[in-house]
Symmetry: C2
């Protein structure tokens, strides 16, 4: 999926931006926390703080209407020779609680973000992105 | 378009993430530099460094196929009570060089990014986003 260099870069960043589109082709993009597994990226359904039910989140409704998604993980610096990004395009789905891959995703997320260790993210589905195309740009 | 607080937040960040989608609903998202005018956001067509002709950029081809876009401007911190984002959804177009709004956009971009003062961004179209919906989340 990713080269070793791309994986190191992805793991070194703390926030990505996740783009979905609804059935009318209207894009939607939000910052997300993520973990990077061997073959997939995982994004929990927390809303920091929660204001709506996770199943009602626009990102979830978009995935259900159109599973094509994109995730960008980038590094910004005022010295533009240091700019870099990884763009992952693929298909997203929701992993339900109890699914073994859901349990694996929760473990990866809690290892990466200590903030999740006390948040009940295991009770909600996890978004899984299965990459179909990866573009790396700049100085990873 | 934006409240004073939202405008201050937008101007305080240095990079946004710009989402487009092609005619098949496949999202695409990349980091972008932007300037915020009274009624629009402006994104220059530089590619830092240029590898393809600006008119061939995926972001440009997507806008031509589907002008619906989204731009997220956010702040990340490990203290998640400080997280914030502005999500702008709207319609994008290309301003050609010579258009008065293009000149205005170039001036705003060069004021905001000294890096652009020596880059010939005025020779390329500028992406303009005309917002139709703005969502503010978190501690702007």
């Amino acid at each position: 999926m990713l080269t070793a260099e791309q994986r190191t870069f992805a793991n070194a960043q703390r926030v990505g931006r996740f783009a979905t589109a609804d059935q009318d082709g209207q894009p939607y993009v939000i910052p997300v926390c993520y973990a990077c597994g061997p073959e997939a990226f995982y994004i929990p359904l927390d809303t920091k703080p929660k204001r709506v039910e996770p199943q009602r989140l626009k990102r979830v409704r978009n995935i259900q209407a159109n599973p094509k998604v994109a995730l960008v993980i980038d590094h910004y610096a005022e010295n533009w020779s240091e700019l870099a990004y990884l763009l992952i395009r693929g298909v997203a789905a929701l992993l339900p609680p109890g699914d073994p891959e859901h349990q694996h995703a929760i473990a990866l997320l809690r290892e990466r973000y200590q903030q999740y260790q006390t948040m009940p993210i295991e009770a909600q589905p996890v978004i899984v992105i299965r990459p179909e195309a990866v573009v790396a740009w700049g100085k990873l």
